[in-house]
């Protein structure tokens, strides 16, 4: 427990520093984008959160495969923890995307290709979490969730492709296009680093809680 404590505190400190840096870059350093004004700065959090959500679901995919192969509960713990964090991050993608869309395009939801894909992803991984609660016992929950985790992730590129093709037929307001000037790129990368650290921290924290709950269960059995 001790080593993970130190590791966790390092992650916490590191993410704090990165976020302070990120906030400085976003609000002081980076110039305002001409087209959209200051609202565009949402982009610097919105995009990294989306990438990390995708990373989270990739981890769910890997964890699910490993669980079905090795049947060790640690893989299921990793997969389910990552799914939970991934769903939270995807929710943030949807909310911030919506808040961004409203002043720019006048509507909260515009069926933009990327946000719609995020919505489907959100639904798939909500289903992942729900399947766990509807299963009849622990191992079945882990097994069924792993199946959803694998099928869901395989579906992701197809969803993205189909929705993108669908939207090119009716070009809708796009959230962001065009190249990135160096200061914007730097800001984006720092934010990405900050959120990656945050994701790792949340994943480890959530996983250790699941492990602790498992231990409580075992201890209770021994006691009774």
């Amino acid at each position: 427990m001790k080593e993970t404590g130190i590791f966790r505190n390092t992650l916490l400190g590191l993410s704090f520093i990165l976020f302070v840096g990120a906030l400085y870059l976003i609000f002081v350093y980076v110039p305002t984008e001409e087209g959209m004004g200051i609202v565009q700065r949402i982009f610097y959090f919105h995009v990294p959160v989306a990438w990390i959500a995708f990373l989270a679901f990739f981890i769910v995919f890997l964890g699910s495969i490993m669980y079905l192969w090795k049947r060790e509960s640690k893989w299921d713990v990793i997969a389910s923890s990552s799914a939970e964090v991934g769903v939270i991050f995807t929710t943030l993608v949807l909310i911030t995307g919506s808040i961004w869309a409203k002043p720019i395009w006048g509507a909260w939801w515009t069926w933009d290709a990327r946000l719609t894909t995020a919505l489907i992803l959100w639904l798939i991984y909500i289903a992942y979490l729900l399947v766990r609660s509807y299963a009849t016992h622990e191992q079945q929950a882990a097994r069924f969730a792993a199946i959803v985790g694998i099928v869901g992730f395989v579906d992701v590129p197809i969803v993205a492709l189909a929705i993108t093709l669908w939207r090119t037929q009716h070009p809708s307001p796009v959230i962001f296009q065009g190249g990135l000037a160096p200061p914007m790129l730097l800001t984006l990368l720092v934010c990405l680093a900050a959120f990656t650290t945050l994701y790792s921290l949340l994943l480890i924290q959530r996983a250790s809680i699941k492990n602790a709950e498992g231990e409580v269960g075992k201890l209770k059995e021994l006691c009774s």
């Binding site: 909310i95 409203k102 002043p103 945050l198 924290q205 809680i209 231990e215 201890l219 006691c223």
Partner: protein, 51 residues
């Protein structure tokens, strides 16, 4: 500075959700640790008896 409200809302929500989640996790961790320790103590007390 027209849409500053939206900018603020977006960042506030991100902070609130992330902070709230972290708070939840840390609290859960703490109560679980307490439970594990008390269970371990209870187990230690049982052992001399069951031998």
């Amino acid at each position: 500075m027209e849409n500053a409200g939206y900018l603020l809302a977006a960042f506030t929500i991100i902070w609130a959700v992330v902070f709230g989640y972290m708070l939840l996790l840390f609290n859960r961790q703490r109560s679980l640790r307490r439970e594990i320790n008390s269970l371990r103590d209870a187990l230690k007390e049982k052992e001399p008896n069951s031998r």
